[in-house]
């Protein structure tokens, strides 16, 4: 008997082990992970997701374009009749169309239930009403339709922008399938062993999407896995390991908290990447965006530091109205336009050939592209021939269509010994012995390489500095930049350290901040810091938009068409003076 029991126990342990699969300790996984949005993180073959997409396509052909709730998925099947009454009404139908254009936008019934007393009070209703809750994906709003149960008629309709709907059971099943299908999520999920799984509504405050959280809690252990699923994009946003779920003191993961945890952990941390012949070091600063540090090409140091300290934004029709916007870390920083995601590095391909790498770090105001919200990017391009571009991108929207933007670049090239600075004067290179500033305007002449300045080290190696006149970016409108050449002082900060704000927002002259370092017109005898302040004017004129963004309806959802304004110079290396 004993032997038999021991044998059963052995079998049981074996079975449990087999269920668990090959385990990795949960502690060995990153605490929080963010997958890149817009690039399908989970495999596309999940049957439930494919089926939902097909259903959405069919629904969009209908009027109203609403995903209805089945009796099986309704918490109160007896009230499902109210859904038909609500969806047949003109008022609800209108709310599932874009206000400006009348285009159909996707809605979904998320709940049919008895109306709560507080809801009835707010709607000034008394009696027995069923409430049909409808989520509008385009406006990220909740429509509440009150249906009189006795009269079987629509009594009132209210809209609540930003309110989150109840969870649909069928959506919860899809969210769980999407979460578990993601290989990196599955690895952590399986690593937790036998688990309880709970799906609950979360929030995507920044993207303004419908989001669910799949919470996986092991029967033993002190942590829960939170997988955030974007139910608008039908994809996994990321995951976070949290303290074990405690209903008494719930700790929630939302899009914002996950992004801040992941991106915030990289603040001021120096990262290194090898990109072909290039090795770059960089860090997300508190309020100077990404700072490139110690950049090397084929082992040779070409750049000590490059960053954008501020975006000066002014609106000439309103005197002294504007902002000095700092980009940077989303937490504990002096930035107002912050990084939501980690930087993205992609190959630059021209005519089928990879010619370099593009590094982009995106920053946004909380609810871009709503009014007075901003979106900027650091853009660095590293080409296989050793040239590189340091650029800033403005994706709107700002406070009006009369906005001027002046990003302040600080660039410290790594040149050998004393640096010689020259300006193209139309016929040749004219050396500059002292600190100076220059405005790129209509009368500016460029060398045959399109360069305006030349910086050369003592060893004869250096860079041509090529401002943008529209040739560097498709749709570009030129830099129109103020340039400042300043002697580098090892014993003075002069913008090297992180700057919470730098210069006034609304000056239209060369007085953008760097001029303070050339006040004494010192000799350029030593290392040189190059400051660059391009100028761009936004436009919302149809067909000529610039630094602008427009919303439109795509497959029933809200999508954005951006009209980026990109500015910043190209550095073209030369050796031994050629």
């Amino acid at each position: 008997m004993r032997r038999q029991l021991a044998w059963y126990a052995f079998l049981l342990v074996g079975a449990i082990s087999a269920c668990k699969g090959p385990e990795r300790p949960v502690g060995s996984f990153p605490e929080a992970v963010l997958f890149r949005r817009g690039q399908l993180a989970a495999p596309d073959s999940i049957a439930a997701r494919v089926a939902l997409r097909e259903r959405i396509q069919k629904v969009l052909q209908k009027d109203p374009p609403v995903l209805s709730l089945s009796r099986d998925d309704a918490a109160h099947p007896a009230l499902v009749f109210a859904q038909d009454i609500a969806l047949a009404s003109d008022r609800v139908r209108r709310l599932c169309h874009r206000r400006k254009t009348g285009e159909a936008v996707l809605c979904a019934v998320t709940d049919v239930r008895p109306a709560r007393p507080a809801e009835l009070r707010k709607a000034n209703l008394r009696g027995d009403y069923a409430l049909v809750e409808i989520y509008n994906y385009y406006y990220n709003s909740l429509i509440k339709a009150f249906v009189d149960r006795a009269r079987r008629s629509l009594a009132d309709v209210k809209t609540y922008p930003g309110a989150q709907p109840a969870m649909r059971r069928d959506f919860a099943r899809i969210a769980r399938a999407i979460a578990y299908a993601h290989p990196r999520v599955r690895e952590v999920w399986d690593g937790l062993g036998g688990s309880d799984v709970l799906v609950r509504v979360s929030k995507c405050e920044r993207s303004r999407h419908l989001c669910y959280a799949v919470v996986v809690t092991p029967r033993k252990g002190d942590r829960s896995l939170w997988v955030l699923v974007d139910m608008t994009e039908l994809d996994v946003i990321g995951y976070r390991l949290m303290p074990r779920w405690d209903p008494q003191r719930p700790q929630i993961v939302t899009e914002r908290s996950l992004q801040n945890a992941v991106v915030g952990a990289t603040c001021d941390q120096i990262q290194t990447d090898s990109l072909g012949d290039w090795v770059i070091h960089y860090r997300l600063t508190k309020s100077d965006g990404i700072e490139l540090l110690d950049v090397r090409y084929q082992g040779r140091k070409v750049l000590r530091s490059a960053k954008i300290l501020d975006w000066h934004v002014s609106y000439p029709d309103r005197k002294d109205f504007g902002y000095s916007d700092a980009m940077g870390c989303p937490v504990f920083s002096a930035a107002a336009v912050v990084a939501f995601e980690l930087p993205e590095i992609t190959p630059i391909v021209r005519d089928g050939q990879q010619v370099g790498y593009r590094f982009v770090q995106d920053y946004r105001s909380p609810v871009w592209p709503k009014g007075c919200n901003y979106r900027y990017q650091n853009l660095f391009e590293f080409y296989n021939d050793g040239s590189f571009r340091i650029a800033g991108v403005n994706l709107g929207l700002g406070c009006s269509n009369n906005g001027w933007y002046r990003p302040v670049f600080r660039i410290e090239p790594a040149l050998h010994g004393r640096t010689r600075v020259e300006v193209w004067n139309g016929s040749g290179w004219r050396p500059k012995g002292r600190e100076f500033w220059h405005l790129q305007d209509k009368g500016t002449a460029y060398s045959r390489e399109s360069a305006l300045f030349r910086m050369t080290g003592e060893d004869g190696n250096g860079f041509l500095i090529v401002p943008d006149r529209g040739q560097l970016t498709p749709g570009g409108r030129g830099d129109h930049a103020y340039s400042y050449f300043v002697r580098a002082h090892a014993d003075r900060d002069e913008g090297r350290s992180n700057q919470p704000t730098f210069g006034p927002c609304c000056n239209t002259t060369y007085e953008q901040g760097p001029e303070r370092f050339i006040a004494d017109g010192e000799s350029l005898d030593g290392g040189v810091v190059f400051w660059y302040v391009p100028q761009m004017k936004n436009s919302d004129r149809p067909g000529a938009e610039y630094c602008w963004v427009r919303s439109y309806v795509k497959d029933g959802y809200e999508a954005f068409h951006t009209y980026p304004g990109t500015v910043g110079p190209l550095f073209v290396p030369f050796q031994n003076g050629h």
Partner: protein
């Protein structure tokens, strides 16, 4: 018989002791209650502790008609504004009110004094990070806004956290001010403080350490006065009991609720906590990450809770999303 007499004598002695102890106990409780009675001598009922604010006298001189609203919304520009609380009401802003830049929390006392504090908005406005750890006072007679008190900081201010004073709450019963300051806090150290300040003497009477708070709110529960604290690092709201004199009961605030856990709740921070006479707690939730506020952040959620006398506790009612 003797035996019986003896027993009676012992029982009588015990009974006398019992009565004496009972009397002392009742007297002790009475004395404790007397010593801890509200200053106005009345029995206290649950209700807000800050609703005794008087209209500033200067505003009436400028022809403003009460009731008046205090407005420090940053999108309307720097400084504060006084507004008549009616449609199309007048708005008053003296030049002197803009000189300290953008303002944040405010409190109104029984004499019509407005206490407020500067905050960083979009950028530091040319100020050093340490600038924002101060309280300003708007004089009710002259209408002049003046620097009233700079608070000590547990660590030097850095650009990682430019914030200083983040919350104010006035206690009518003690004529004192509670001030939340997050100055000196950083990503790894929660160094925030709650100060209890005597408005007559400017003396810091009490201090609670290691808690980063935004919104502050005072309410008398049946069990006594409580200070409610919106946590700056999480969507949670805490509270701490107060003595009648205003001092803190204990050193550790108690967890009350999480805004994120409510139906329709968000990962918001309780930025302002307000109470009404009819027993409502109104919490304004915003995103706060110790980075600077954007020029326009139209996302704020208003959380409504109702006081329940049975159980002497708060019950969640509703969230309303406010989008501009």
């Amino acid at each position: 018989m003797v035996k019986n007499t003896k027993r009676t004598s012992t029982e009588g002695s015990m009974a006398r002791w019992f009565v004496l102890i009972l009397v002392l106990l009742i007297a002790g409780v009475g004395l404790w209650k007397y010593r801890h009675r509200p200053p106005n001598g009345e029995m206290a009922h649950p209700g807000p502790l800050d609703l005794c604010g008087a209209n500033p006298a200067f505003a009436l001189k400028y022809g403003m008609h009460p009731p008046l609203l205090i407005d420090t919304r940053q999108n309307d520009g720097p400084g504060l504004r006084l507004m008549e609380a009616r449609k199309g009401g007048r708005v008053l802003q003296l030049d002197n009110w803009k000189q300290f830049g953008y303002l944040g929390p405010y409190a109104l006392d029984k004499d019509g004094v407005i206490y407020t504090a500067p905050i960083p908005f979009v950028n530091l406005g040319g100020h050093e990070p340490g600038y924002f750890n101060r309280i300003l006072r708007l004089d009710p007679a002259s209408g002049q806004l003046e620097d009233w008190m700079t608070l000590p900081s547990p660590a030097p201010a850095t650009e990682d956290n430019a914030y200083g004073v983040t919350g104010l709450a006035y206690d009518c019963t003690t004529h004192t001010l509670y001030v939340a300051s997050v100055a000196g806090s950083d990503a790894n150290h929660e160094r925030g403080r709650i100060y209890h300040i005597d408005l007559k003497t400017k003396r810091i009477l009490h201090r609670l350490d290691h808690f980063d708070a935004l919104g502050l709110g005072l309410y008398r529960m049946r069990a006594g006065k409580r200070l409610y604290l919106g946590h700056a690092r999480s969507p949670e709201v805490f509270s701490i009991g107060l003595k009648e004199s205003g001092g803190f009961r204990g050193r550790k605030p108690k967890f009350e609720f999480s805004l994120a856990a409510f139906r329709d709740g968000s990962y918001d921070n309780a930025h302002r906590i307000r109470f009404t006479r009819d027993g409502r707690m109104i919490v304004k939730g915003i995103e706060f990450n110790f980075s600077l506020m954007a020029a326009s952040d139209p996302q704020r959620n208003i959380y409504l809770l109702r006081y329940r006398a049975e159980g002497d506790k708060w019950e969640f009612v509703d969230v309303q999303s406010q989008q501009e």
